[in-house]
Every structure is written in C-alpha cells, then in structure tokens.
C-alpha cells in the first residue's frame, strides 16, 4: 500500500516565500569596516566568493581580504633636509617597518585589480601583485626584525654601556639597552651620530608557510612605512581593502560571454555546478536563462561577496525572493523562475495577462476545491525597511535604508527589515523589492488546491503558469454567483491515478486583467539621489587615484608548503566488488552446526531417567531440572502407542521396575512438571523424559510355568510370569521346612502366606488383573532357614 502525503495548504505561504520572516535586529551586512587591523584567514575558514560587475557607473563591491602569509622587518632610512635650497643639508634617520601580506581574494580567477582600487587602511599605498592558481609576489614569509642591526652592546660589570661611535661605521646601527645608536652615511661629524629609541618587535613569528593556492586568486602587498616614536608597530598593520570591479568569471546566461557577472542567476548556476553539487542534467537551464534575462532587464543585480558558510538551498530560498525569483524543482531539475509576469524583452509585464487554461466544474472532482486564506500576520499592513548599499566607484559601500509603505499605513510600524546591503547596489531594486513584498501582502488573499481529472493539460501546465478558475455557485434559489479568479501554479502533484492536484496562489488582477502586483512593482522607483556620506577629504594617497593601471603579476615566492602527502591521502580504489560468501550460496553441503550455532533454549529437553541399571529391582526417578517437580509415570503400548499412567502424579514420585512390570509395561517414560505458582494447576510447562525399554528385563523372566526361586536367610524379591489368562488362577507351591518363612505375592495377584513352615505346600492364587507378572517376595530372617517356591501358569 502506498500512502501519499501532501503538504497542508496553509504551509504554502511559507514554502513559496510569501511569508516574511522578520530578521533579528543587527547591523546590515554591507556596513564597511575600514580601519580595522588586518585579519588572518584561519584554517577551515571558507574561501570567499567575489561576484560583482561594475558597469554603467554602478556595481562592484569593497572587500577586506584576509591574509595567510606575512613578512615583517625593520630598518633605518635616512631623510635629507635642507633649509637653504640644498646649500647645506642634514640627515634625519627614521625607523621604518617593512610589511608584506599575502591575501586570498576569492575562489576562482578574478581579472587583474586596478591600483586605484586598493587601500592600505584608508589610503592608496603599497605595491601589489596578483596571481590566479598560485601565490602572488616573490617574497618569502618571515620575521626579520632587528636583522639590520650591526650588533648589540652589552653593559659592562658596572652596568654601564661602553658606547663608542668610533666602533660604528657609517650607515650602521647598534643596540644598547632601550636605544639604537646610529651613524648616518655622512659619518663625518657628531651630527652624524644619532640616538633613537629601540622599538620592540610585536609582529608574529609564525608567518605562514604558503600553499598551492590552486583555484584561488591571491594578492601580494608590500609596503614600508615609518614607525613613530613610542608607537606599537602592530598599529602599522592596517587592513587591505579592495574595490572589486569585476568578480568571478562565469559564462553569463544572458549573452553567453565568459566573464565577470552581476547576475544573481549566473551566481546560482555557478553554485549549483561548483564542487560537483549538481550534475548538468539536474539543472534547468531553460528556466535559469529566462530568470537571468528577467533580472538583467529589470536591474535586479548582485554585487557582493559570499563569506559566511551556509547551506546552498537555504541561501537560495532566502535570497531568490529578493530578486523576484522563485526556486523551483521540476522533474528533478533545479531552476529559478520569475515571480512576476514578463514581456518578451523580460521587463515586468503590466498589461493584461492571459491564463493558459480555465478550470470549470467540468474538470474538478468531488471535494476537489479547497481554499486556504492567508493568515493575518502575513496580511497586516507593515513598513518594509529595505537595506541596500550605496556603492560609489572605488569607495566604501554605505548602507542605505529605504522605508516602503502604503500611504496612510504603518506609519509607526511594524517595521520589517530586508537586508540586501550585502549585494544590492541599486536603489530601484530595493524599492521595487519592498513594493513587491508590500503588494503581495495587500493583494494576495488565498491559496487554492484543486483536484482535477486528468486531461491534456497534464502536459501543458507547468509551475509558474497562470490559470483561471471559474466555478458557478448557487447559494439561494435564483441567485447565481461565480468564483472567477486568476491563480499562479505553485505545485503540481501528478498521481498517475486519473487525477492531478494543483496548488495555486491567488494572482490579483485589476478590471483589465493586469497584474496588480506587477503594476505596483513596475511603478515603484527610488529617488535616485546619492546621499552624502560625510567623508572628510584627507589626501593620504601615495598611489594614483585615477587611471586604469592594474597591479603587477609577479608570483612564485612563498615559504615551504606542507608536503602533499601530509595534506591529502588518496585511498586506492578497491579491486574487488562485494561478492557472495566464497563457498557459494548452496548451503546443502554446509555442516549444520556451521550455519547457526545450536541454541540450548531451542533444543528439545533431554532429561534422563535416573536409577535404571537394567535390573528388575531398580527404582527409577526423573528430574525436569527443578525442585519438587510433579512426576507422572506412563507406560507406552508398543502397538497402539497409547500412553497410560502407571504411577503418579505426585511430587518427586519414583517408580520401581517391578511396579512397571506388574503394570504390564514394556516401554515407560516419565512426565515432569516444574512448580509455577502463576498457573491454576500450580505447575508450568511439563517435559517428558526419554523412553526406557524394559524388554531385556522381561526376557530374563522365565515364561510360566517355570518361575520360581530358592534360597536361605535373607529371602529374595523376584518377578515371575503367571500367564495372561484372566480371570484365572495359578498354583503357587512353596517349601519353608521347619524354620518359618514368609511368601508375599503382589502385582497381577495378591497373596500372603504369613510366616509358615512346611514342604511342597501348593495353593491356588487368583489373578487380579490380566497382567502376566507377579512379584514374589520371600522374607526369611532366621539363621539356618532354607526355602523354595514355584509359580504355575494361570488357567
């Protein structure tokens, strides 16, 4: 049996992105962070994805790439001054620090960065080189602090430093305690002797080892700057900022060109394909191309960087509505479709829409109409606060907010934030998105689930199509009304059982059949002004702020990367496939005990009867394995197999063999039952003993007539054959001579002579059963006595 479960209709609002999840109040993603210290890329941290395209004076993104390697050194540089146009000069030594960073920009290969777009702190400084699939720059990471010193002067035994500039050559420096003694390159007079404060080394000593940087874009930065007296050298480690005009190179869906892109759909496709997440066959290129043209035509562009690790599906679900797109899965293929109708040039369509088909009573099955109205929280008037990024060329992005609300509504809130500042650089985009969200809440009132019979529309309609539902409703006699609305298909459930289930979302239209939401979005636009960001003009640039010169391409330096054997292990593919057990699946020849070990619990009970030595005088007992068992003795008819109780039941009952013989038994067994207070009988499950064959004992008994015995003091007990006749009697002849003895017959007959004396006394004994065996017990306690007897055949 197959159980089909369809998601409840009320979930459709959330599933299709109609509901807005209010963000936690936090700083917008796109806020700049300019003067922070340079950050380090830590092992395991995601490699950023830069996706941007600067065009038409807009776009691009400012980023702060993280470093993986560094080089730090200090030195003394000389600065020459003159107050008389060079007639006389003097030298001022200055302590400098040399900084070199290796930065990871992005996965993939980025076009060469322009020099004017690179900042050290807030100023354009330093020398840069860029490389793809390798390490930029030719330097080696390390910390060479104080390597420029010619030596260190140690204090003498009195604690004084024996300083003499005579021992310092021009251009040399020596350290003595907390000071540096430097003789400048003139070295001619005392004016060339300088005493400078010593600056401690606070730079890292673990400076990075380099790696392959395979598939990454790297940037090398080199810069030497003066260390101010008393300053912490680490303060010199400003962060590098980079205005990325052109990000990752992809094949653009809009024009087929392989280059940078700002199209969200290109990014989505790149993310689908990268890392072999989805095979090409699982990507709906048709819908992606349509969506790419839709976002391109309407200016819904992406200029941002992905740095936070997150699930791709979640990210697409969260961000695609901001581009007025809907993530789809049709026929197993992932795609994106526009959320608004569009013209042939992919601009938003504001003219009348044409439904693909009209559903009427003819199509809908019984109980095939279910409406779910959108809840209050998704319809309440709100003000959307859309955050976007004013991204001026070559500058830090400034987060802008725009409040979008209907006139006269939600003046004091509630406010719903939509943070697009990480990637939206277009005010119109932000305003249209806010309007779209607002119009959805205002106009869309319900969802519909239609269950219809299969018709040819099962191959015509696809997710995203518009359909009309026109149903006649008669609530009062003579009063006819129609449910006549347009819907967008959100979900199609094809059951292959003669019915199709469509989940639809109300598509509001005006009296001319034009989409209300599309018209609202199309008509919305921002003020188009650039907000003054309050930037003070401080010209600290050392590099040009104009021109298109790009950074250098030197590469190949670096430290000693870890050996590949220490960073990756390729496990060899196994040669063998999973196979059946080597002796094959035929178990017929398998020893049984090799299949499954014997389980003693599941084995039959093999309780044995105790006390049996093959003698007629034996007394038998049986234990089923518990204390105080209830024992019942049975004889088994050798012909019919009938089981007849010969003794018991009784607690611990034993059986004499003679009793069995007297009862005419040839085969006997015992039944033992263990006590079980939980049962009404007081005993639990009973088990049977093995069967004992008494035929050997019987064979030793002489057939009648002929049975008898003789002896002296002590007497005897012996089984004799008296014949099977019954009712009948037999002759018992005894001799006790003069000392009295006693003869007792039991079994198939009962007789007791008492203590008697005499010779050849014959008595007739009546049988009491048809059994043939009797037991004759002779009691002869007196010393010197002698006795004998014989048993005749019953007749």
């Amino acid at each position: 049996m197959t159980i089909r479960i369809t998601d409840p209709l009320f979930l459709l609002s959330a599933q299709t992105g109609l509901s807005v999840t209010e963000l936690r109040a936090e700083a917008a993603e796109g806020n700049p962070d300019v003067n922070k210290p340079q950050e380090v890329l830590q092992t395991g941290e995601p490699i950023p994805i830069l996706f941007a395209r600067f065009r038409n004076g807009s776009g691009g993104v400012m980023v702060h790439p993280k470093m993986t390697e560094g080089y730090f050194a200090n030195d003394i540089q000389e600065e020459e001054f003159s107050s008389d146009n060079g007639a006389t000069t003097f030298i001022r030594p200055k302590q400098t620090v040399e900084l070199k960073y290796l930065l990871v920009l992005s996965e993939g290969c980025l076009p060469l960065v322009q020099i004017r777009d690179l900042y050290f702190g807030g100023c354009r400084k330093g020398t840069f080189h860029q490389a793809c699939n390798g390490r930029a720059g030719t330097w080696t990471p390390g910390n060479d602090w104080d390597d420029y010193l010619a030596g260190t002067i140690e204090p003498d035994s009195s604690g004084y430093y024996p300083i003499s500039f005579a021992t310092i050559n021009p251009g040399q420096a020596k350290r003595a305690g907390d000071f540096i003694y430097y003789k400048d390159t003139d070295g001619l007079s005392t004016a060339s002797q300088h005493v400078l404060p010593y600056i401690e080394n606070n730079f890292p000593t673990f400076c990075g080892t380099s790696g392959s940087y395979d598939g990454l874009t790297t940037l090398s930065f080199e810069y030497e700057t003066e260390l101010k007296d008393g300053g912490d050298p680490l303060n010199a480690m400003r962060s590098i900022s980079l205005f990325v005009r052109n990000g990752l190179s992809v094949t653009r869906l809009v024009d087929g060109v392989t280059n940078e892109s700002d199209n969200y759909v290109d990014l989505a496709k790149y993310l689908f394909q990268s890392g072999n997440r989805l095979a090409d066959d699982l990507i709906d290129n048709s819908s992606l191309t349509t969506s790419a043209k839709f976002t391109d035509a309407n200016g819904f562009l992406f200029n941002g960087v992905l740095t936070q690790s997150q699930n791709l599906s979640d990210w697409l679900q969260a961000t695609s509505p901001n581009f007025l797109l809907r993530l789809t899965n049709t026929g197993g293929k992932f795609g994106l479709i526009p959320r608004l109708p569009y013209n042939t040039d992919f601009t938003i369509k504001t003219t009348a829409v044409v439904p693909r088909i009209t559903f009427t009573e003819e199509h809908i099955l019984d109980d095939g109409f279910q409406a779910e109205y959108i809840s209050l929280e998704d319809r309440e008037p709100v003000c959307f606060v859309v955050q976007w990024r004013q991204q001026d060329e070559g500058a830090y992005g400034i987060v802008r907010t725009v409040e979008v609300r209907y006139e006269g509504e939600a003046a004091g809130g509630p406010f719903l934030d939509i943070d697009m500042s990480g990637y939206c650089t277009n005010e119109d985009h932000a305003v249209k998105l806010g309007t779209f969200r607002l119009a959805q809440r205002k106009f869309i009132t319900h969802h519909l689930r239609l269950t219809v019979r299969e018709r040819n529309y099962n191959s015509i309609l696809v997710v995203g199509d518009l359909v009309r539902v026109r149903l006649r409703r008669e609530t009062n006699e003579g009063e006819v009304a129609y449910h006549d609305k347009v819907y967008e298909i959100n979900r199609i459930d094809k059951t292959f059982e003669s019915k199709i289930i469509y989940d639809l979302t109300h598509f509001p239209i005006d009296s001319q059949g034009r989409s209300l939401i599309a018209r609202a979005v199309d008509g919305a636009s921002g003020a188009g002004n650039t907000i003054d960001v309050g930037e003070s003009v401080v010209d600290c640039d050392e590099n040009s702020s104009t021109g298109n010169d790009t950074v250098g391409t030197d590469s190949g330096g670096g430290g000693t990367p870890p050996d590949s054997g220490d960073t990756a292990i390729d496990i060899p593919q196994p040669d063998d496939d999973d196979s059946p057990f080597p002796d094959g699946p035929d178990l017929d020849n398998q020893p049984e005990d090799e299949l499954v070990p014997e389980d003693p619990i599941d084995q039959p009970f093999n309780g044995t009867i105790g006390g049996f030595n093959g003698d007629a005088g034996d007394t038998l007992d049986f234990s089923p394995g518990c204390a105080n068992p209830r024992i019942t003795w049975y004889k088994v008819d050798p012909v019919t197999g009938e089981k007849i109780i010969i003794k018991g039941p009784g607690v611990g009952t034993t059986l004499d063999v003679v009793e069995a013989l007297e009862a005419g038994a040839e085969m006997i067994y015992a039944e033992g039952c263990c006590p079980d207070p939980s049962t009404s009988s007081g005993y639990g499950v009973c088990v049977d003993s093995e069967e004992i064959d008494l035929s050997d004992i019987i064979d030793e008994i002489e057939s009648c007539p002929g049975g008898g015995d003789a002896g002296g003091q002590g007497g005897s007990t012996k089984v004799s054959d008296a014949g099977t006749a019954y009712p009948a009697s037999f002759t018992f002849t005894w001799t006790a001579y003069v000392i009295r003895d006693r003869f007792i017959i039991s079994g198939a007959a009962t007789y007791d002579t008492g203590f008697v004396a005499g010779e050849n006394i014959a008595v007739t004994v009546q049988k009491t059963s048809a059994n043939r065996y009797i037991t004759v017990q002779v009691q002869a306690p007196t010393e010197g006595t002698a006795w004998n007897y014989s048993v005749g055949c019953a007749s």
Binding site: T2, D7, L12, Q15, T16, V40, L41, T43, G44, P46, I47, I49, T68, E69, G70, V104, P204, F206, G208, S210, G211, S212, Y213, D214, G215, L216, L271, S274, G275, R277, L278, A279, D281, T307, N311, L312, S313, W315, R326, T328, N329, T330, G331, G332, K333, I337, E454, N458, S459, V463, N490, R491, I492, D493, K494, T495, F496, P562, T567, A568
Partner: protein, 155 residues
Amino acid sequence: MSNRGQAQYLRIYEPGGSDYRLIQNFYVNTDVTVSSKTYSYFPFEWSGVQESSALSGQTVSLRMPATSLAINSFESAFKEHRLCVVSAFEFDTRVGVSAPQSGQTLIAEFVGYVSRMNASFTELVVELGSTLAPVGAQIPFRTATNELVGVPIQL
C-alpha cells in the same frame, strides 16, 4: 470509460552517458522502441511526481518486484551514482496498445539519482532524487586547507 493510457519508461545511464538499462511497464513481455531506444518490459510502478516551487517533493518512488534484474540494476545504480530518468507518456488506447504511438505525449519526467532504496524480500522500492541536501551543499564550498594555504600566519 477512459481512453487514456499511460506508459512509463525508465532509463538508467552508464557513468559515461550511454544506456545501462531501459525498461517500460506497459507493453507486457514486449520490447518496444521509443526515440530510437529499445525498452524491455519490467513491471515497475511510478507512483507520481510533484513539480513544485516550494522545494518540497524533490523525490519520486518506483516500486517493483525484487527480482534479480531489479536488484542488480538498482544496486549498481545506487553504488555507481548512475543517473536515472523516468518518463510517463500518455496516449489514446483506442488507437492501439500493442506498440508505442508516434503521437504520444510526454506528461511527466523526472531526473535523479538513486537516493534511497528499501525492500522486502519480494518488493523493491527505489527513491530517485538529487543531492542538493543539507550535507555537502555549503557555500562557499572551498575552505582554507593546508593544501591550499599551508599553515596560515598566526597573529
């Protein structure tokens, strides 16, 4: 009485793109040719497909007898990550049911990998889907490894 007939076709690809298995469930004990591909008969059941903009229902189920053919085919597809395409065609049964009609209509198609299987000793249920799942679908997908960046600087 409906004249609507529906035949379902399953195509399992080799890793290189050629065909590994072609089966259909309508033309009993008959090999039929559709789009130059010859499909042999095997009684599987495709219980339906959901096309959605809600990202739910991203899998479809195929149910079939657990014959050696089925088990070998799908265990292999499962292990080798073979791509599977299941298609449903619709046609007018009055025109004929002995062979696929040239004018039949594709009403549903699903592409995916064998994402899940379960079975009794007599029945095999195969779930087709794709792997845009919470595991293995993080972005950005590359991280700073020792191979890529070595041992980074420690500030």
